[in-house]
């Protein structure tokens, strides 16, 4: 049953009834999340769908924790540097 909260329809209740575990993923890709057992399963599936490798994106916000990390993050493409050094 979809309930109204002061005229506001709650999509969350619809999603719960349909048993959807994700908010965006299953709807976007039309798959069942229970098929995915690890982050590498998710990554490789999305990479296949996008046709490219996933990049690491910095999220700068005071709301998200930094997990005790004090050091700046350096983007380092080891394979490319290695190939360049060996002139392959």
């Amino acid at each position: 049953m979809i309930t109204n909260h002061g005229g506001i329809r709650r999509e969350s209740e619809v999603a719960r009834e349909e048993g959807r575990k994700t908010i965006f993923f299953e709807e976007k890709y039309g798959v069942d999340i229970s098929r995915f057992r690890s982050i590498s399963d998710v990554d490789s599936f999305v990479e296949k769908e996008l046709g490219r490798k996933l990049e690491v994106r910095p999220i700068n916000s005071s709301i998200v924790s930094r997990s005790g990390n004090l050091f700046p993050i350096v983007k380092y493409d080891v394979q490319r540097k290695f190939r360049r050094m060996l002139r392959i």
């Binding site: 969350s12 994700t22 965006f24 993923f25 998710v42 999305v46 910095p58 924790s65 005790g68």
Partner: protein
Amino acid sequence: MGIDVTPTSDVPQLDDRPIKELAVFFDMYRAEFIPVYADVIAFLDDKPDETLYEIEQMLSHIDKVFDFMLDEETRLKNVDKAVGHLERAILDCLKILWIEINRKVNLIYNDGSRRKYCVNMSEREFTQKYMEYNKLLSEARRTEMESVGVSPSKSIPEYKNAIRLGKELLESIDDDKLNNFSFFSRVLMWKSQALAFVLGFAASLLASYLYGSLQ
């Protein structure tokens, strides 16, 4: 060629308490973390760095659970620490979704014309849902702050509910209308600037003519 691994500790026993406790961690990892992680990836089409830091921390604690040189109590504490990082990773994923949804929805909400013409619901309904969305987020944040050090995961269902409502707001934004609106806004801006230029040019011509005729 494989890596030669020489065991430095005893073989783990199935009745080992820390390893049994670790099963709870992996249940939570698969049941709670993977879905929110998948949501962030689906939303960003990239991997957020914050989540990776938490995963790094989790691995270091899981490693200690399997270190049989340590006493059972220390290994059990490391299970708790790994669970703590997992809970924070779940919360981080939800907060990243919150930040990204806000970034998009605020662009519309803070612009009266876009709110009126680029959304597939009445302005009143959009505003009402936006207020409700912010209220749910504030409540989730309050629950999280109140349960710091006790149970950070208490606020997870509240964040999820708020994000579901944020998704509805996002879905109500009509991209075609938004593109058309941006295009026609630019056309109108150029038109008004061209008109101002023509009027300014005509006024200066008239002023020079009047000045010339008066002399």
